[in-house]
Subunit: 230 residues, 2 copies
Amino acid sequence: MVEAVRLIDTRERILDSAERLFMAHGYDGTSMRQITGEAGVNLAAVNYHFGSKESLIQEVFRRRLDWLNEERMRILNELESEADGKALKPSQIVDGFFGTMLRMAGDENRGGITFLRLMGRTLTEPSEFIRAFLAHEYKVVLDRYKEALFQALPDVPKAEIVWRFHFMLGATSYAIAGTDALRLVTDWQIEKEDSVDRLDRLLPRLMSFLLGGLRAQLPQFPEEAASDGE
Amino acid sequence: MVEAVRLIDTRERILDSAERLFMAHGYDGTSMRQITGEAGVNLAAVNYHFGSKESLIQEVFRRRLDWLNEERMRILNELESEADGKALKPSQIVDGFFGTMLRMAGDENRGGITFLRLMGRTLTEPSEFIRAFLAHEYKVVLDRYKEALFQALPDVPKAEIVWRFHFMLGATSYAIAGTDALRLVTDWQIEKEDSVDRLDRLLPRLMSFLLGGLRAQLPQFPEEAASDGE
DNA sequence: GTCTATATCATGATAGAC
DNA sequence: GTCTATCATGATATAGAC
């Protein structure tokens, strides 16, 4: 306990480096040599501690997602018990799901912006086993939130809500993944802010957009063009 | 010309296979052996025809994007000349950009759904040179469309419009990338439709969502909590 | 638990015959 | 333009000393 300050656990150092490198270069684009090199541990340590590269990335996710998903559940439970049977407001639900995720980025102990960007990228990650793993990790929470939205928006067909949830996830992932990187649209600097400020302002911006989309006028399908138009 | 029907150009076969495999497994996750194997050509053919794997994927994109971006420009020019100085409707602009892309998915000669999904995924692709390449390919068109939105929505701050463009891109990419794959949210089958039908209905759905988000109420930033709205 | 050393295999690329 | 054969490298994973 004397100077255990700088000597972090090998396991943890591997997870930290893996998180950062997977975020920066993707799963297939990151080698175990890079990871152990950056972590300052031996190459064999990954296989000793985690068994394989696949297990490693799963652990990278589990370490953060367990907390995030529990927090989301806790928040939704709390909201529902406060509402006492009445339907929640869509904004409460959206904030519980997406807001909780974005606020996580401000907490370095929970992975901060690095993990958030890794999440954003990985949702469209090509690797099959990662998608399967994430789908499994997320299922319960997603189902609860979808159910809450069904009740909050009784006039919107369920299929429509599911699609819009899908769109919201996409907008959020992309916003996060690109907050410091890609910026296809944003190459001419929007604002000069450091990471924290930027996140502070991203959340309200994103929230407005998501809620606007979620509550938008229902689509007109071509085959139903009979009734009154837009 | 006698039976040149089935004997497609080697170059083209490589591009087709590469497009499909990059879509399915990502850039780093796809080997040149897989590509040439599926295309039924020799391993050395890729380097002979394209020089390198990097040049190959650039050509995969250029083959489709050149047409798409020209079409987008053509449409915007046409809309503006019809409007004769007046501002366009946001829905026209959004449809010109995103609608054109989605309708491309119905055209097998232009890559169809495969290329569209590749696009969706690659926008969050970790590989640096791909991001740089795409940003460059897109710059001119994006700038024109952003400018059109600025004029169509004079009351919305430009920074806000740029962000919302960003969000729209994300929602679209994700919707496309997941149309047949991931489906984190959608694992319990929404509807049973084949690819074409699904795209038919995806477009109006997505368009409603995007326009709802684009025209949403402006965000309230914490530090400006004193005054009403921006 | 940590290291070195190495096994085994797949990768991108190229040289050179045809 | 297409093939075979091969190079050089880097990948994941493991065996075994310490």
